[in-house]
């Protein structure tokens, strides 16, 4: 009889197992693809916060990311969610391929700062994802050098030029420029647009005025006037070399993104005790270049769509925004009510709140073309082949060739 009981128990157990599939009681594992390794701690925290979802993060090198993504989304091994680059030039490619779809109604983006939504918007005006990470481009300076030479943060262009002179007189490279990194030169140019020209960039940014117009010419002329104060080997400098020099105290200032203040950046890795200061690029524009770094997107062809949509909805919540601020150390795209613990975050958040540039070029609607045109033009300028007028003419020529 014991054998009969045993068989009955076995049958009953099997029936229960069939009636309640494992997926109903186990966590759903979602895969997210990113080029931002600094987000690993965030997704661990999100996994803990969302009890029924386990998140697997796969990080790829930034330069390979787009190619990986294209392949992944057209094969079975693709992600459930992924981070997309900002702007319609990126969104359109994936929307046309049917791998992303406009946001479902279940995703409430009312809390997200409206100025960042462009990062997730296609040229059809529809929003396809949830923007993440507001980045700012400003001057990052070595505080120890400023303190040693009793230099105050300059507020005007004249004050800034006086600082450049003083630093040079004290054998410190005033401004380090990474001439080998075209994309970083494009970033620098965007930062200068905000500080030096601000709203004068309005028509240039929409291509209603050429880059040779007053708005951008002022940027090029001002940068040209700083040439005696930038590193002599600017043309040979790469991006990490630039950051290393400010960390080591050989150079006083760089024009860089907020991400360089992260504990994972080259600066902190080379000199963990380096004290940095942030300041807007001084000038008549009076703005700081701020943009969303991209958007979280759901793979519309993924087989875990419901869980992925749920996670996407969570990324638009205040709870996620606070986790983002705490674990990534960057600014969230959530409009208000987020507490920033980091000293640099809090300062940059003030820049965004008070003086964010509205007229985006780099990371804006024609993000891609901007990098491809502006970077090489600045390299030509740094090599001494063209002057500031030639620089703007070269940029305009490039945009026209790109049919913009």
């Amino acid at each position: 009889m014991n054998i009969k009981n045993g068989v009955r128990t076995l049958i009953a157990a099997t029936a229960i197992a069939v009636a309640f599939p494992m997926t109903a009681i186990a966590e759903e594992t979602l895969t997210i693809w990113t080029w931002r390794k600094q987000e690993r701690p965030l997704w661990e925290a999100v996994s803990k916060a969302m009890q029924d979802v386990n998140i697997k993060v796969e990080v790829f090198k930034g330069v390979d990311y787009n190619s990986r993504l294209r392949l992944g989304l057209q094969s079975d091994g693709g992600p459930d969610l992924f981070q997309g680059r900002p702007g319609a030039s990126f969104i359109d490619q994936y929307a046309n391929a049917g791998v992303i779809e406009p946001l479902a109604e279940s995703v409430d983006i009312s809390g997200i700062s409206p100025s960042t939504l462009g990062a997730a918007t296609g040229s059809d005006g529809k929003i396809y994802g949830v923007p993440f990470a507001v980045q700012t481009v400003q001057i990052i300076y070595n505080k120890a050098i400023f303190e040693r030479l009793s230099i105050e943060e300059p507020k005007t262009l004249d004050e800034f030029e006086a600082v450049l002179k003083k630093l040079k007189a004290n054998n410190v490279t005033p401004l380090e420029v990474p001439g080998r990194a075209g994309w970083a030169l494009a970033m620098m140019s965007a930062g200068l647009e905000a500080g030096i020209s601000g709203d004068d960039m309005a028509k240039v940014a929409t291509r209603d005025e050429p880059f040779t117009a007053k708005g951008y010419q002022k940027v090029a002329d001002t940068f040209a006037s700083w040439k005696p104060y930038i590193n002599t080997s600017a043309a040979a400098q790469d991006y990490n070399g630039m950051r290393a020099n400010v960390a080591l105290g050989d150079s006083a200032m760089i024009i860089d993104g907020l991400w360089s203040t992260s504990p994972l950046s080259t600066i902190a890795q080379i000199e963990p005790d380096a004290k940095l200061g942030l300041m807007p690029i001084p000038g008549d524009g009076g703005k700081v270049y701020a943009f969303a770094d991209g958007a979280y997107l759901v793979n519309a062809k993924g087989d875990k769509r419901t869980a992925a949509d749920k996670l996407l909805a969570f990324t638009a919540s205040k709870e996620f925004a606070q986790l983002f601020a705490d674990h990534v150390g960057e600014l969230s795209t959530y409009a208000s009510g987020i507490t920033y613990k980091g000293e640099y975050q809090a300062e940059a958040a003030q820049f965004v709140a008070n003086q964010a540039q509205k007229h985006l070029t780099w990371k804006g609607p024609f993000n891609v073309q901007y990098e491809e045109v502006v970077g090489p033009a600045y390299q030509k300028f740094l090599a001494g082949k063209i002057d500031s007028k030639g620089l703007t003419a070269e940029i305009e020529k490039g945009f026209k060739a790109k049919k913009l």
């Binding site: 046309n96 080998r180 075209g182 080997s233 040979a236």
Partner: protein
């Protein structure tokens, strides 16, 4: 109906032909799958506008007219082509001159010959990333080369090997040549060792000097090795851009001064190093086809010359 003849009914010549055919199949299959089909695929793709994902749009010859007719694109194409020729020129000169010199030295009974052979060949299996990184460290503005030159008062300001548009490409070509020189040395050395000793003995008996032996007996035998090295280097330089991509990225700075056909094609296909690039695989395929046409005459000439040498 077609009926196969049994092997027994086949003549010797038929069997021989059958053997040739069977022996050709693996090579043809490999060549077809890995060379011919991709070539046909590239040709087809060159008539489409395709960002690498989603539907492709047929655009006819538009990619070719844009590439050759638009000043911005055609300037980049010809700049990349002439710089690739320069890159090839530097590499092949170093391979042939230094390769022959070292191979001749190794062919004599020099002390420690085996150790030298090993030393010369050692960089070849190294990864290009490692060699590029080491090279960059050496020629860095603060690197040992600049330190030594400054110490000897040869320079007052550090040289920007990779930052100067005149020196960046030759510097990268030198890194690549240093890594791959060992292969040329080994090819030339094996050709030298293949020279029949009785020919050399006869030349010596006739009163030929060492140089005359090299000039009139050894060099003519080396010609096939030189042609082979030239073809391999040409294929490598015109199709690959690993060193430029590692050191300068797809931007190929400063201001496209290190842009070669491989980087131009890569940049067009996958965008710039900021990672936000527009992918235009159709235009990149058109570039690939134009490259093939540009190097076709030289390839045919070298291939025919190689066949004649046989």
């Amino acid at each position: 109906m077609f009926a196969l003849q049994s092997p027994k009914a086949m003549s010797f010549r038929q069997k021989e032909k059958m053997q040739y055919l069977l022996l050709l199949i693996p090579g043809c299959l490999l060549y077809g799958v890995f060379n011919l089909l991709p070539l046909i695929g590239t040709l087809v793709l060159s008539f489409y506008d395709w960002p690498g994902i989603g539907p492709a749009t047929f655009v006819g010859f538009e990619n070719f007219t844009h590439l050759l007719g638009d000043e911005y694109m055609s300037n980049q194409l010809w700049n990349a082509f002439f710089q690739t020729v320069l890159f090839f020129g530097i590499c092949i000169s170093l391979f042939l001159i230094l390769g022959t010199t070292f191979a001749l030295l190794l062919s004599w009974n020099t002390a420690g010959k085996s150790a030298y052979k090993l030393l010369f060949f050692m960089p070849y299996p190294l990864s290009a990333v490692a060699v590029a990184f080491l090279g960059q460290l050496i020629v860095d503005v603060r690197g040992p080369l600049n330190q030594i030159l400054a110490h000897w008062d040869i320079i007052s300001q550090p040289l920007m090997f990779l930052g100067n548009e005149d020196s960046a490409l030759p510097t990268i070509a030198f890194f690549q040549s240093w890594q791959k020189l060992g292969f040329s040395i080994m090819l030339i050395l094996s050709a030298i060792l293949g020279v029949r000793s009785d020919l050399l003995e006869a030349a010596v008996l006739d009163g030929a000097s060492r140089w005359q032996c090299i000039r009139y007996v050894v060099f003519p035998v080396l010609a096939p090795a030189f042609v082979l090295i030239t073809i391999l280097t040409m294929v490598d330089v015109f199709n690959n851009a690993e060193y430029v991509l590692i050191l300068m990225g797809p931007d190929a700075g400063p201001y496209y001064s290190t842009d070669i056909l491989g980087t131009f094609q890569y940049r067009t296909a996958f965008g710039t190093s900021g990672g936000s690039g527009t992918a235009n695989l159709g235009l990149a395929a058109a570039i690939g086809m134009v490259i093939s046409i540009l190097i076709l005459p030289a390839t045919i000439y070298l291939a025919l010359r190689n066949m004649r040498n046989r």
